[in-house]
């Protein structure tokens, strides 16, 4: 219950500390004392950091911004699970009432070759942007578009597209995957646009170019473990990967007829 002052907890944290991309990194143990169950996980880290600064130790670096589960900035492995124990919940929306007094919590950054660690829990996810830049769009310039109601879109298609478009690009899917595959992330964008009539003209080119970029970034292949779906804070369905694979195979079968040039639509 919010603000009703549940019992305060004492926790032991094992946190990955790494000075920069070149540093080897190691676990360091901290005590987190008098933690309220109403705190979010990141607020708990704020409290630990204030204590560290007071003792002259540099605070734990972690990415975060909106703290309401939509910007996709935060992300960390909490006891080996991307974003922690609560289903469909980002680390910033995880609250300490999900833990017990005396718990020991291990906190690590996303681990993937395509997400190099920059410092402590902060990783570089620029590879996701490059996958989108390879084809995750409809090639329309600003201006000259037809009236919004000129193109009816079946409600089911729109709803399904929205299910896929809900992806926040946090990278939990990659972190959870034994192969560090970005298939769920890529499939969500391929499906969002591929389900809509606006996305049809570039559907095959998009699938091919985005998959090619995903491979080039060093992400692994999908072998259908399903770990990604299990940790996805937006519950993006594994079905979208099947859909992307269909588009990709279709594009491959079309061979050279699908131009490789992306974007100049």
């Amino acid at each position: 219950m919010s603000g009703t002052g549940g019992k305060l907890m004492n926790l032991t944290l094992k946190v990955w500390r790494q000075k920069n991309a070149k540093d080897g990194g190691r676990f360091v143990t901290y005590e987190a004392k008098a933690i309220s169950p109403d705190m979010s996980f990141l607020e708990m880290l704020d409290v630990v950091n204030e204590g560290l600064i007071g003792r002259g130790e540099e605070p734990i670096a972690f990415d975060h911004d909106c703290r309401e589960g939509i910007c996709g900035t935060c992300g960390m492995m909490i006891n080996g699970v991307a974003h922690g124990p609560r289903r469909a919940t980002t680390a910033c929306q995880l609250h300490m009432r999900s833990f017990q007094d005396g718990d020991s919590i291990t906190i690590e950054p996303w681990r993937a070759a395509a997400f190099p660690v920059l410092r402590d829990l902060v990783v570089d996810r620029g590879s996701f942007d490059r996958i989108v830049a390879a084809g995750g769009f409809v090639s329309v310039n600003t201006g000259g578009t037809p009236d919004g109601n000129a193109l009816p879109v079946p409600k089911d298609a729109s709803d399904q597209a929205m299910d896929a478009a809900a992806c926040i690009g946090c990278g939990a899917c990659v972190a959870a995957c034994p192969n560090a595959s970005a298939a769920l992330f890529t499939a969500a964008k391929v499906s969002h646009l591929g389900l809509l009539p606006q996305g049809q003209p570039e559907r095959l080119r998009r699938a091919r170019n985005m998959v090619a970029q995903m491979d080039a970034e060093g992400f692994g292949s999908c072998t259908s473990h399903g770990e990604c779906e299990a940790v996805c804070p937006k519950e993006i369905s594994l079905d979208f990967i099947a859909r992307m694979n269909r588009d990709y195979i279709w594009a491959s079968a079309q061979g050279e007829r699908v131009s490789k040039a992306g974007g100049e639509g």
Binding site: M1, S2, G3, T4, K19, N20, S36, D38, M39, E43, M44, D46, E50, I53, G54, G56, P59, A61, D65, C66, R67, E68, G69, I70, C71, G72, T73, T89, Q93, V122, D124, R125, D129, R130, V132, A133, A134, G136, F137, V138, V140, N141, T142, T145, P146, G148, N149, P152, K155, S158, A161, M162, A165, A166, G169, H192, Q198, G199, G262, G263
Partner: protein
């Protein structure tokens, strides 16, 4: 300082068309010779950067986040207004214009707002073409819902994630240009200084947030689309990183800062749960379509909500504002909540909350329909509070949400520094003293997609631009300033953390410059803030060094600027001896507690001009003229 709004002559419906016909163009082959810097990658920044690159300009775009997709526009939930009149319920461009000016309590410029209403229809078309998955009816056409401050249904939405979907549309357009090599993107770069040479904005100095490197970037025009300054209150619905630094640096280089005291307090946020609170979370205003707001009639009634019988509940918005009921504008709903809590009728811990109850809507429509409409919002509430709104009413309380003030801009969205433009929440232009729901997304995208591509071209074509590159001494000076500031901050080695200063500033601002303000309180704040600022520069403790990823150092620079902006905000609030929109001065209210404007004395934009360190800034006034709308007391009764 001369404030020339450059509003075109002629009837209001023709102003923008006439302006577009009159302004100068840059030849398509010449556009690639010009560089434009865009700071910020939210709705305004991403749409501007993408659109300008499509036209052929060389664009560099900067954001402090790790990806342009994360800008805080993403958190907007409810929707975007457009005067499409798809519902056949009497909407029109004029009505949206009228509602926006009235909603802003008659403190916005008519010309800008009319253009915004006109462009609203193009935005929907653009976003649909990009593949934004707006909500649809079974027939395949676009769905609409109602929002506060309007009696028509003109709000387009994508579940409770409209901002996310619109931003992803703009982000995808931006990434397309990045992929084509037309935009150079600089994520994790923070603008720390504006560079002015020969009296024109010619570039910026940034800090690479991974390596600490201080870098110069030159351009022919600079666009700031860096969002609002709500975090001056520490607790707000803004993202943790939202800051005023870019526009504050511009202010200190000569850009006027307009109406800083117009800050919006959103009525439906999750109440504070303790001292650890790091931010506040908004529950979309769209919930007020089906949720009913109430408190117990009796003071200090501690019974759980379901034990309070119907006739002992006060649905105070429906009672006080029967015409608009729960859908009255944000400033009015927020003040009404404060009033009932001040009367001792608030609910939850500390009595700082009111109920937002879905019981009637669930009875009428069924839980499934409510879940479909608001499921993700209700889930979010449950995650944060541990309470289930399908069973117990939500508790909500107002929180700082949006800032209507910002850099002063003319009709071309140019600040008082030639070449420096400002878009979206960062400028002051369209919302007057209060913004209506679903209008922020509209403004950000109108500015970025449909205004700036024309007006930047006009600036470039009509200005003689001296040859300036990063070897110019203005860049050296700005770099030295930035490096010096970093060094000073790191050298203080005091006893208090950055956050502790930020929290203290936030408390002062909320207490004396929040939902209700008065002369005594504002004067007190104007004494407290400078001494807090002085302590900050003597006693802040920032560990580590500049040459690495250092989040304390990033925060320190932002808080240092908030400590200056907070003072200007209080000064502006003190100078404005009237109540209007989000600015409520207790001395100026009607007998029934509504805001009382003083149009004879205060129908102007307050544009503050920096006068130097420790000098009182200069107040410049741009009179507001109302030729198409009759000034009236705003009534939602």
């Amino acid at each position: 300082m001369e404030l020339r709004s450059n509003i075109p002559d002629g009837p209001i419906e023709k102003k923008w068309d006439k302006h577009r016909a009159d302004i100068k163009l840059v030849n398509p082959a010449n556009k690639r010779k010009y560089k434009v810097i865009v700071v910020g990658s939210g709705l305004a920044g991403a749409s501007a950067a993408a659109s300008l690159a499509e036209l052929g300009y060389q664009v560099s775009c900067f954001c402090y986040q790790d990806s342009p997709r994360r800008a805080h526009s993403i958190a907007a939930q409810g929707g975007i207004n457009a005067a499409k009149n798809y519902q056949n319920d009497g909407d029109s461009v004029f009505r949206l214009f009228y509602d926006t000016v009235k909603g802003g309590d008659f403190r916005a410029r008519e010309g800008n707002v009319y253009r915004l209403a006109q462009l609203s229809v193009n935005i929907i078309d653009q976003c649909v073409a990009q593949g934004v998955p707006f909500a649809r009816e079974y027939g395949g056409l676009l769905a609409n819902r109602s929002f506060g401050g309007a009696q028509v249904s003109r709000t387009f939405y994508a579940r409770g994630q409209t901002g996310q979907q619109l931003l992803l549309g703009a982000y995808q357009a931006l990434e397309r240009q990045i992929g084509l090599g037309k935009v150079k993107m600089h994520p994790r770069h923070e603008m720390l200084e504006l560079v002015v040479a020969h009296g024109k904005a010619r570039g910026i100095v940034t800090r690479n947030m991974v390596t600490g490197k201080i870098e110069s970037h030159a351009a022919d025009a600079v666009i700031l689309a860096t969002g609002g300054y709500g975090n001056v209150f520490y607790l707000s619905t803004n993202a943790k990183g939202c800051n005023t630094t870019a526009i504050w640096r511009a202010y200190k280089k000569g850009a006027a800062f307009a109406n800083p005291c117009y800050t919006q307090i959103h009525p439906t946020c999750i109440p504070v749960s303790g001292d650890h609170q790091s931010k506040l979370t908004l529950m979309s205003e769209s919930l007020r379509n089906d949720g009913r707001i109430w408190v117990p009639k009796k003071k200090g009634d501690a019974r759980p909500p379901h034990q309070i019988p119907e006739d002992e509940r006060d649905y105070y918005l429906e009672r006080k504002y029967p015409a608009y009921g729960n859908l009255c504008p944000r400033d009015i709903a927020s003040r009404a909540a404060k009033q009932v809590c001040d009367e001792g009728r608030g609910v939850g811990p500390g009595g700082l909350g009111v109920y937002l109850d879905f019981a009637d809507a669930i009875k009428r429509l069924g839980e499934t329909v409510i879940r479909e409409k608001y499921g993700n919002l209700i889930d979010m509430y449950e995650r944060i509070t541990g309470e289930n709104p399908y069973k117990v009413p939500m508790r909500i309380y107002p929180a700082i949400h949006y800032t209507m003030g910002g850099l002063w801009v003319d009709y071309n969205l140019m600040t008082t520094i030639p070449g420096l433009h400002c878009l979206g929440e960062a400028n002051f232009s369209d919302h007057g003293a209060n913004r209506l729901g679903a209008s922020a997304l509209m403004q950000g995208l109108a500015d970025g997609y449909f205004v700036i591509p024309y007006t930047v071209g006009h600036y470039i074509a009509s200005t003689s631009l001296e040859k300036v590159d990063t070897s110019h001494e203005a860049f050296r000076e700005a770099e030295a300033e930035v490096s010096g500031r970093m060094k000073t901050l790191l050298g203080i080695k005091g006893k208090r953390t950055v956050d502790s200063f930020h929290r203290e500033l936030g408390k002062i601002m909320w207490e004396y410059c929040g939902m209700a303000r008065n002369q005594t309180g504002l004067q007190l704040a104007l004494n407290k803030i400078p001494s807090l600022r002085e302590e900050f520069w003597k006693n802040v403790n920032i560990l580590g060094e500049n040459e690495s990823l250092n989040q304390s150092l990033e925060k320190a620079g932002r808080v240092a600027d908030f400590l200056e902006l907070g003072e200007l905000t209080c000064l502006d609030a003190l100078e404005r001896n009237e109540s209007c929109g989000g600015h409520f001065r207790e001395e100026y209210q009607t007998p029934d507690g509504e805001a009382k404007r003083d149009d004879d004395k205060y129908a102007y934009v307050a544009a503050w001009e920096y006068a130097g360190p420790d000098k009182r800034p200069i107040l410049n006034k741009e009179p507001l003229q109302f030729e198409n709308i009759h000034l009236a007391q705003r009534s939602y009764k």
